[in-house]
């Protein structure tokens, strides 16, 4: 069973929820594999106490980029006119490829009259599997800075997690999604069973969550809501819940202990000896487990 934790807006507490949910399931004795699908800023392993063992890391080279052979180029500018992605710029009258923008689509090479364009494959990122301090396997997608193809990397990380889950008999896969509603988030949603939307009581977060649910619609996930820091603005929290209209799993109050737990790189549930958020968080996870996961 694949559980995705996402939010639309960043910084609402996705990693907080996913790391603690993973820890919670683990402490119930359930087998669980975690996936860090926030490939541009992967933090899940840190939130789960850091790595105690690196099982493997695999470089991924999948990003196709155009290269222009200026010896052959006759400066006809056809490639420049054809590229739909701003990936060809002119420099002293010569076309040059902006690698970061290049999708490797091949359109330029189709129109080039002098066969001056070929392709190379560049680094997309890294997929690694580590055992966290708490004995949880975490598969991390880590995108090359300035890279594209984030969604592909996320698919690979999820595939990897399913492989591990199958071989170890793990029932649950928890996916910590990226901020936003773009490519990596869509890949996180594809194939997922449950989507946990983490919001905070702000109009920005509400808007992000609405856009996320719009994207999630075609994936038919079961959608659940966690109202994080709800007491910072209780009225607006109510508004968020009623506007989104999805099942509320729990309301978590703002709690300084959470920051302290992060600072010591310990999941809040393992750290806290009784912060305000502890009980509500455990309750929500229990509701999830009893009512949905079991």
């Amino acid at each position: 069973m694949e559980i995705v934790v996402a939010s639309g807006k960043g910084g609402t507490g996705k990693t907080f929820v996913s790391s603690n949910l993973t820890y919670f399931l683990r402490s119930l004795g359930a087998k669980v594999v975690a996936v860090d699908a926030d490939a541009e800023a992967p933090d899940l392993l840190l939130a789960l106490g850091g790595a105690s063992e690196n099982v493997y890391s695999r470089e991924v080279y999948r990003s196709r980029k155009a290269v222009i052979d200026h010896g052959r180029c006759v400066s006809c500018m056809k490639c420049f006119e054809t590229c739909r992605f701003n990936a060809i710029e002119l420099s002293n009258g010569k076309p040059v490829v902006v690698e970061e923008y290049c999708e490797g689509c091949g359109a330029c090479s189709i129109v080039c009259p002098s066969n001056a364009i070929s392709f190379v494959v560049k680094r997309t990122g890294l997929i690694s599997c580590d055992v966290s301090k708490y004995g949880i396997k975490v598969v991390t997608a880590d995108l090359e800075v300035g890279g594209r193809n984030t969604g592909e990397l996320v698919y690979m990380a999820k595939e990897e997690a399913h492989r591990i889950a199958d071989s170890e008999g793990a029932k649950y896969i928890v996916v910590d999604a990226a901020a936003g509603i773009g490519c990596p988030v869509i890949s996180s949603l594809a194939g997922a069973d449950i989507l946990i939307v983490v919001v905070e009581p702000s109009p920005q977060s509400l808007k992000g969550a609405r856009r996320l649910l719009e994207v999630a619609e075609s994936f038919r996930t079961r959608n659940l809501l966690i109202l994080n820091k709800y007491d910072l603005n209780p009225n607006f929290s109510e508004k968020v819940a009623s506007t989104l209209g999805i099942e509320v799993l729990g309301k978590i109050p703002y709690d300084y202990t959470i920051v302290k737990a992060y600072a010591s790189m310990t999941p809040f549930l393992a750290y806290s000896s009784g912060g305000r958020a502890l009980k509500p968080l455990v309750e929500s996870f229990r509701t999830l487990y009893e009512g949905v996961l079991k």
Partner: protein
């Protein structure tokens, strides 16, 4: 001389938009300013100023989409073969099926078709809203159509297609999306000054490192680390000081306060509503240092 300032920083929810909006408001008193909301997946500038934007132009950003003329198609299968996204497939009957959600809009299919059976169609990728914010500055808000996977392409267009326009201003403040992907590259590509907004947690520091790696990869020198929520207990202050010192960056601190969160939620500017607060003063110092 135009100065392009990009507000970015890796981790989401650290306060990029808050900094961008307050900063551009202050800069708009010193020179002609435009604020660009480039977080197209979840543009937050409008909510952060409670909608105080007068929109005077909306540009529909269109991407390519193939339109098939089955009467002309000779069933050669070249389009299927050349489609880099596998968004085309041929049924046993020879009919081409198109999956729009996979399509990047590259137009390769149209270019290889020997029978002129594919023509240029359009689909909406996003919107650029042009207007005036808070009566003091111009603004562009980019927003992608939900479900579209190529926010990087839209952001590149938002920046590259408006670059000429930017040269008319003294200050261009770009509110970047979180992360470190190609879309973030677009927002820093032309910037003289980078603000890396972070929060003092191990996760914030981790993401800050990755972001600085990106900025330095592209030769950015004027990188300023802005630590938001400064003062929260148990924060990773030494870590941040170390990074800043090691790499010779400038450090700015915005003290943690309820006022900031409340302002964000209410859609008011800290520097406008609470000019005497420590948070407002810290952003004033930032504006002064940048102008």
């Amino acid at each position: 001389m135009t100065k392009i300032i990009t507000v970015a920083g890796g981790k989401g929810g650290t306060g990029k938009t808050t900094v961008a909006v307050n900063l551009s408001y202050l800069l708009s008193k010193r020179g002609k300013t435009i604020l660009v909301d480039a977080d197209v997946e979840n543009p937050c500038v409008p909510a952060t100023i409670a909608g105080r934007i007068v929109v005077n132009r909306i540009v529909e950003v269109k991407g390519f989409k193939p339109v098939f003329d089955y009467g002309k198609c000779v069933k050669c299968g070249l389009c299927v073969e050349k489609c880099p996204e596998h968004s085309l497939t041929m049924l046993p009957s020879g009919r081409i099926i198109y999956f729009e959600t996979l399509c990047s809009g590259c137009s390769s299919c149209m270019l290889v078709c020997p029978a002129n059976a594919i023509s240029e169609g359009y689909r909406l990728e996003g919107l650029f809203r042009f207007g005036r914010a808070l009566d003091t500055m111009d603004v562009i808000v980019g927003e992608i159509v939900p479900g579209n996977r190529r926010s990087g392409v839209l952001i590149a267009r938002l920046i590259e297609e408006n670059l000429e326009n930017f040269r008319k201003y003294d200050f261009v403040v770009i509110d970047s999306p979180p992360g470190t992907f190609a879309g973030v590259y677009s927002t820093i590509k032309h910037a003289e000054t980078i603000l890396a907004v972070t929060e003092p947690t191990p996760l914030g520091v981790n993401d800050l490192r990755k972001f600085i790696k990106l900025a330095r990869k592209y030769g950015k020198e004027d990188i300023n680390v802005v630590v938001n929520k400064y003062g929260i207990p148990g924060g990773s202050y030494e870590e941040i000081e170390r990074i800043v010192e090691e790499l010779g960056l400038r450090l700015f601190k915005i003290p943690y306060s309820r006022i900031v969160f409340d302002s964000v939620v209410r859609g008011v500017l800290v520097v406008e509503e609470y000019p005497e607060s420590d948070a407002a003063k810290s952003i004033e110092r930032l504006a002064l240092a940048l102008s």
